[in-house]
């Protein structure tokens, strides 16, 4: 099997960006290009490149790296998310100027890890790519000047991350001990039922525990709201969306093994149900916007799982679609938050009061983003949830679908609460009348909102990129 560099052009391009950032980071010339500026453009080119490589197909690195429609779709989603995140973070108020290069370098490394992750079909590679994606985020969290909570958040993140890593690795050792292979393709031939291979099931469960930590699914969610509160708004925008993509793609790869009826699938379904319910209920009482979105992330991770437990092509496609949509809608909400919090503080719900007067454009973007997160038509969130639930109905656990649907009703309250604060409440006298924001920030935010509505009306645009043969 020969090595074909043309298959990994998006990854190579991303690596090029990382290299450029690294060189600029260690250079000490008096003149330097502004990182935010050139990187935004280059990341934009990255989207085009990964869009151009959507149709690639092949198997390299001795069969451990599969380039197929699924991986290319997720690479596209990652490079899209990366570009938005970079754009979002260029004017970060709480980031010291001399650390811009490193900040973006780690962000790029994390995105690179996710890109690699979406192609890995071998368990150690999966594990390491996931570690790369999450390790790179650890240094980003404490980079928030003038905030004591940031260090605390970083410590929590690192410790829980390390523990999750250890658990996942232990599970990995059990899988290896009982199945004697790490290639997913060989896993297909092996039994995965408790009665036949209990050790492998225990191992896979532990391995998934490590994975679900990155996904912040229910029992492994506890770090998420604290970390989100401590880290800067722009960092959270990245952390709360992008690693989900990676975890979802791994679960899709593993879903070849997870047929309904298997013990692991049942456990996952249970976790998904609890995760959705818990996330929504906890989000109801939050007043800090970032914490609120943090809990909602937990719920959304659960929704994606609903599609995956179905074990059908439609379910997987719906999950992939939904996670891509989730990236857009979460970024849309965070885009508004980052623009409003001009000094980088944590926003309370009351800070949104009267937004429709102060910044009508941003208020509209926020409204669209929140409606998409709820799943109201005509936004893409509605289509995403619709596909998920219909795909899962009668193929998976019907009780799970019912719970998910009931939770959508609960979530209406707190998402629309955002909109209510922005539109119906008046701002107190003391707040400045208008939020100063440049024209471009409105343009990009509007673009995100427009995408949400566009994909809501024409979901086929995305589905076309998704493989029929999943």
């Amino acid at each position: 099997m020969e090595f074909r560099p043309d298959l990994i052009i998006p990854e190579l391009y991303q690596l090029l960006l990382i290299g450029a950032l690294f060189i600029q980071g260690i250079a000490d010339r008096p003149w330097m290009p502004r990182v935010g500026k050139w990187l935004s453009w280059c990341a934009g080119v990255g989207i085009l490149i990964s869009a151009g490589s959507l149709d690639l197909n092949g198997l390299i690195f001795v069969g451990s790296y599969r380039v197929d429609t699924l991986s290319q779709f997720f690479k596209f989603a990652v490079s899209f998310g990366f570009a938005v995140a970079v754009l979002n973070a260029t004017r970060q108020p709480t980031l010291e100027k001399e650390k811009h290069c490193e900040y973006f370098m780690f962000m790029a490394l994390s995105a690179w890890g996710l890109m690699i992750l979406s192609s890995c079909v071998e368990l150690i590679s999966i594990y390491l790519a996931l570690e790369l994606a999450s390790f790179s985020l650890f240094p980003l969290v404490p980079l928030r000047s003038g905030e004591k909570g940031a260090a605390e958040a970083a410590v929590k993140y690192v410790f829980f991350g390390a523990a999750a890593t250890a658990i996942g690795l232990f599970g990995f050792s059990l899988i290896l001990a009982s199945q004697h292979t790490t290639y997913l393709i060989d896993f297909m031939q092996k039994p995965w039922a408790w009665s036949e291979a209990p050790m492998a099931v225990a191992g896979l469960t532990l391995f998934l525990c490590g994975m679900l930590f990155k996904l912040a699914l229910f029992p492994f969610h506890f770090w998420a709201p604290d970390v989100y509160e401590g880290a800067s708004n722009e960092t959270v925008a990245y952390i709360s969306t992008m690693p989900k993509l990676g975890a979802v793609v791994v679960l899709i790869r593993l879903s070849m093994l997870l047929k309904p009826g298997l013990e692991i699938t049942t456990i996952l379904a249970l976790l998904a149900a609890v995760s959705i319910t818990y996330g929504n209920l906890a989000a109801l009482i939050q007043t800090d916007v970032k914490r609120l979105l943090g809990y909602s992330t937990i719920a959304h991770a659960g929704y994606v799982m609903v599609g995956l437990t179905a074990g059908t092509t439609e379910g997987v496609a719906a999950a992939a679609f939904y996670s891509f949509i989730y990236v857009i809608m979460n970024f849309a909400c965070f885009w508004v938050i980052c623009r409003i919090a001009t000094d980088g503080r944590n926003l309370k719900l009351d800070d949104l009061n009267g937004l429709y007067k102060r910044a009508p454009g941003l208020a509209l973007v926020l409204a669209v983003g929140a409606m998409a997160l709820v799943g109201l038509p005509p936004t893409a969130g509605f289509m995403g949830k619709l596909f998920l639930l219909t795909a899962a109905w009668n193929h998976s656990y019907n009780w799970l679908v019912v719970i998910a649907a009931a939770n959508i009703a609960i979530s209406i309250y707190y998402y629309l609460n955002l909109v209510r604060h922005a539109y119906t409440k008046e701002a107190p006298e003391s707040t400045p009348t208008a939020v100063p924001y440049p024209f471009f920030s409105l343009l990009w935010g509007g673009l995100l909102a427009a995408l949400l509505i566009l994909f809501g009306i024409l979901p086929g645009l995305v589905f076309k990129a998704l493989p029929p043969s999943l």
Binding site: F61, K99, L109, S125, L128, P139, Y183, A202
Partner: protein, 169 residues
């Protein structure tokens, strides 16, 4: 030979468990580190028992001779006083919680492994440096390369985070 191997296993397991307990319960960080070193040496012994001497020696070379020495250095740079917040005795409740948290997975896993022993070789086959090299440059090429990137990330991240503290002073 069977009996000797079992004895060796028991010995190594004892070293590992003693070290682990010491690492968890020690009041002073340095003693905890000594416990950790004990664990690492015990694990190296286990590798020897599995006929993987190269891995065992690497474990000693890297973990005992390298990593733990660096941890030592880190402890020396901090004010690792034995009477910090953590040194207050644990409440009975948290001790019990910890015991349950430790025993539950332990018992489940050991029951699973004892009742359904995975297929294994009656006698371990020697895994030499050549086999390892073939593996790392063959089917496991990608992980092998990824690890170096992860190391780079870890180091650069540590520098980045530490740099900030420097600037604050």
């Amino acid at each position: 030979m069977e009996i000797l191997a079992k004895l060796a296993f028991a010995l190594y397991a004892l070293v590992i468990i003693t070290g682990a307990i010491m690492a968890v319960t020690a009041k002073s960080l340095v003693r905890a580190l000594v416990g950790l070193i004990g664990v690492m040496i015990g694990v190296a012994g286990m590798y020897l028992l599995m006929a993987a001497p190269f891995v065992a020696f690497m474990q000693i070379l890297i973990y005992v001779g390298g990593v733990s020495v660096l941890i030592f250095f880190a402890i020396m740079l901090t004010k690792a006083s034995p009477d910090g917040d953590e040194s207050s005795p644990n409440s009975l409740r948290s001790t019990l919680n910890a015991l349950v948290a430790m025993l539950a997975p332990g018992i489940i896993l050991s029951v699973v492994i004892l009742r359904y022993p995975p297929e294994s070789f009656p006698r371990p086959t020697d895994v030499g440096a050549f086999d390892l090299g073939e593996g790392m440059l063959g089917p496991y090429l990608l992980p092998f390369e990824l690890i170096s990137i992860i190391l780079f990330v870890a180091m650069a991240g540590a520098v980045l985070v530490a740099w900030r503290k420097w600037g604050d002073k």
